[in-house]
Symmetry: D3
Subunit: 149 residues, 6 copies
Amino acid sequence: MKISTRLLALLDRVAPPTTVHAHCDIPCGVYDPEQARIEAESCFKIAQKYADSDDETFRQRCLIVKEERAELAKHHISVLFSDRFKPEHLDEFPNLQDTFWRALKQCSEVKRSMDPSEGQKLLDLIDEIDDMWKKTGGLEETRVNGRPG
Amino acid sequence: MKISTRLLALLDRVAPPTTVHAHCDIPCGVYDPEQARIEAESCFKIAQKYADSDDETFRQRCLIVKEERAELAKHHISVLFSDRFKPEHLDEFPNLQDTFWRALKQCSEVKRSMDPSEGQKLLDLIDEIDDMWKKTGGLEETRVNGRPG
Amino acid sequence: MKISTRLLALLDRVAPPTTVHAHCDIPCGVYDPEQARIEAESCFKIAQKYADSDDETFRQRCLIVKEERAELAKHHISVLFSDRFKPEHLDEFPNLQDTFWRALKQCSEVKRSMDPSEGQKLLDLIDEIDDMWKKTGGLEETRVNGRPG
Amino acid sequence: MKISTRLLALLDRVAPPTTVHAHCDIPCGVYDPEQARIEAESCFKIAQKYADSDDETFRQRCLIVKEERAELAKHHISVLFSDRFKPEHLDEFPNLQDTFWRALKQCSEVKRSMDPSEGQKLLDLIDEIDDMWKKTGGLEETRVNGRPG
Amino acid sequence: MKISTRLLALLDRVAPPTTVHAHCDIPCGVYDPEQARIEAESCFKIAQKYADSDDETFRQRCLIVKEERAELAKHHISVLFSDRFKPEHLDEFPNLQDTFWRALKQCSEVKRSMDPSEGQKLLDLIDEIDDMWKKTGGLEETRVNGRPG
Amino acid sequence: MKISTRLLALLDRVAPPTTVHAHCDIPCGVYDPEQARIEAESCFKIAQKYADSDDETFRQRCLIVKEERAELAKHHISVLFSDRFKPEHLDEFPNLQDTFWRALKQCSEVKRSMDPSEGQKLLDLIDEIDDMWKKTGGLEETRVNGRPG
C-alpha cells in the first residue's frame, strides 16, 4: 500500500466523517438488507418450484429468472458493502469484510445450483448482514420511516 | 434448512395455494411493497438534501440519481399491480386500479419535482398499496420468512 | 429543418397544448403503442418458430429472448398507462384502467407460455390501447411526424 | 481479409440463406425503423422544450433523458444494421454501410447538442434507412400485421 | 497526481488532438477493443465448456450467459465503430465499414451457435479491428496509461 | 481454430485447473482488471475535460456519463472480488478484502467528485488489484489469448 493511501486510511479511522451514506452513492442515506433478502427469497422459491415441476418450459424459465434475481441480490449486497459500512465498523465487526465476501460468493453459488439449500445459505448470510445493519442503526438510521405498523 | 422453512416447504406440498403470484413473473410467489418504498424514500431524501445544499455538482447528481430511483419505484409498483393483484381482489378493493394508477403517476411527478412533498405523496400512496398487500396475506403469504425479529 | 417541422415548431409556441404527456417522463410528448406492438409481435413470432423447430439450442434461446421481449412490451404498456393517459380520459374510456391491467397481465402470460395464441391475445389488447390512443390524438398529437408515406 | 473469411463472404453472396432475420437475434423476423424513429423524435422534442424553458431543473432533466433516448435510438439503428440488412443488399444499396454509420454517428451528435436541428438530421437519416427497409419488404415482410388501419 | 499524469494534462492543453473520440460519447477519449475481446473470449470459453459438460443445468446456463456476453461484445464493437473511427480513416482502411459490419453480424452468429469456432471467428474479426485501432494510435492515444508493465 | 487455441483446448482436457473462476458466474474462466481500468480511465478523463470546459451543457453531460462509468468500474471490481479471488488467496494477499473494499469505495468517491485526483486514486487501487491478478496467473490463466502483440 502506498504511503499516501495509508495516511488517508489512517485519517479515516481517526476522524470518521459525520456524513451519512446511501444505497445510491449520492449518498441518500437509505439502506436496507430487505432489498437483497427479497431477491434471495425469490431464488429460494424458484429452486423449490423447479424441483416440484416437470414442465420443461417452466423449468427452463426458472433458470433464466433465478440467474437474474441472484444477480440483483449480489448487486444489493455489494452496495451495502461498499457504501453503508465503513472502516470504523471494523472494530465492532472484525469479520465484516469476510461476511460480505462469503455472501457475494454465495450469490454465484445460487446461480449455479437448483438446490434450495444454496438459497437458504444465502438467506442465512443476509441475516448476518442484517444483524450488523441493525446494530449500526437499522431502520431508525437508514430508512425514512419504513413500513407502517 | 431451518425447521420453519422445512415446515413451510412441507405445507406447500400439502396445501398448494390456489392462486400463485410473483414479483418476477415465474411466478416465484415473493412480493413486497418495501421494494418500492425503499426507492421512494431515496427520492424523498435526495430532494431534502438537494434543498439543503448549494454545491452545484451535488445538486446535479441529485437530479440524475433521483430520476433513476423514481424509475425503479415505478417499476416495482407496476410489478405489484400486474402480477400480485388479481381480478378477484376488486371486490375487496374497488379502487385498486385507481390507487395503482395514481401511484405510478406520482412516480413521474417525483421525477419532475425537487420538492420533498412530492416524495411524501408517493410514500403515502405506497402505504395504501401496502395496506392492500397486508390484507391479502402480506409477509406470511408473499415472503419466505422476512427479516428476523 | 423541414418547412413542416418549422411550422410545427411555430405552432407549438403560438398554441401550446394544455396537457403535456411523454413516453419518457420529461414529458417529451412522444408516445406510440407501436413500441409495445413490435415487442409483442416478436413474442408471437418466437412462439411460432419454437413450435416449428426441434433444435434444442434454438428452442432454449426462444425462451430466453421471449422473456426479455415480453418484459419490454410490459414496460412500454406501463409507460402509456402511467404517462399518456390521464384522469380526464376516463369519461370517454371507462374501461381504460382495466384494459391496461389486462394487457400488463397478458405480458406475464406471454412469458409463461410457448403458445402463439397468448401472443395474439396480447396483440389484440394492444389494438384496444391503440384505439384509445388514436381517439385521443394518435400520430398527430404524440409523434413529430411519424413514418413518411 | 483472411482467405477463409473471404470464402465465407463469397459463399454468402452466392447462396444467401433463405432464413429470415430479426431485431432480437433469434432471429424472430420482426424489424421496424419506427423503434429508432420514436426515440429520435423524443430527442428532437426534448431539445425544443429545452430551448423554450428557463426552469433549471427541467433543463437539466432534458439532458439526462435525451442522453438515454439517443442511446436507445443508437441501439435500434445498430440492430437494424447488424441483423436486418445483409451482404446481398449491397447491390441495391451500395451506400448502406455508410448511411448506417452516419446515422449511428448522428446519435452521438444528438447526445452532445441541445440544438433541435441535430435531432432533425437524425430523423432524416432514419428516413433513409426506412426507405431501404420499405424497399426490402417493409411492413409486409418484417412485421406480423402492424397497426390496424 | 503523478508527474506523468500532470505532464499529460499539460500536453493536452498545449497540443489538443485534432480529432476527439470516446467510448462514452462525451467523448472522453478512452477506447480499447479489449472490452469487446474479453466478452468474446467469454463466449468462446462458454461454448467449449458447454461441449465438455453433460450437466443439463450447466448447459442451459451457458446459453443464457453466452446470449448476454455476445450482446455486450456487440455493444462494444458498435461503440468503436460509431465513435472511435471517422470518415478520414476510410482512406487508410477502405474496408473499415465492412469489417465492423461482419464483426457485428458475427456476434449474432455467436449467440445462435454453441460451436467454439464461431467464437474464434469473432475473435479473429476483433483482431482486425484491433489492428486498425493500433494503427490509429492504440494505447498511446486512446488510453490514459493502460496496464502497468 | 488456431493451433495455439487448439493446444490450449487440449491442455484444458489433459490438465483441468483445480479452481475455476469467471467474470460471468458460469464460471467461464475469463477475467481481466482492464475492464475496470478502462471505465476508471474514462472517469479520469471526463473529470479533466470538465475542468477544462466552460460549456454548461458539456459539463452537465460529464456528470451524467461519469456517474454511469463509475458504476461500471464498481461492477467490474465487484465481479473480480466475488468470483476471481478465493479464500486460498488470502495467504498470499492478506489485504485482499481490504484492497477491494477501498477500490469499491473509491468508485463512489469518483462519482461524487469532479477532481481528477479521485480518478487517479481509483486507477492506483486497480493497479494493486491488477498486481494480485498477475501474481495469480494473469493473462495466461484468465484470458483466451488476449491482444496479439
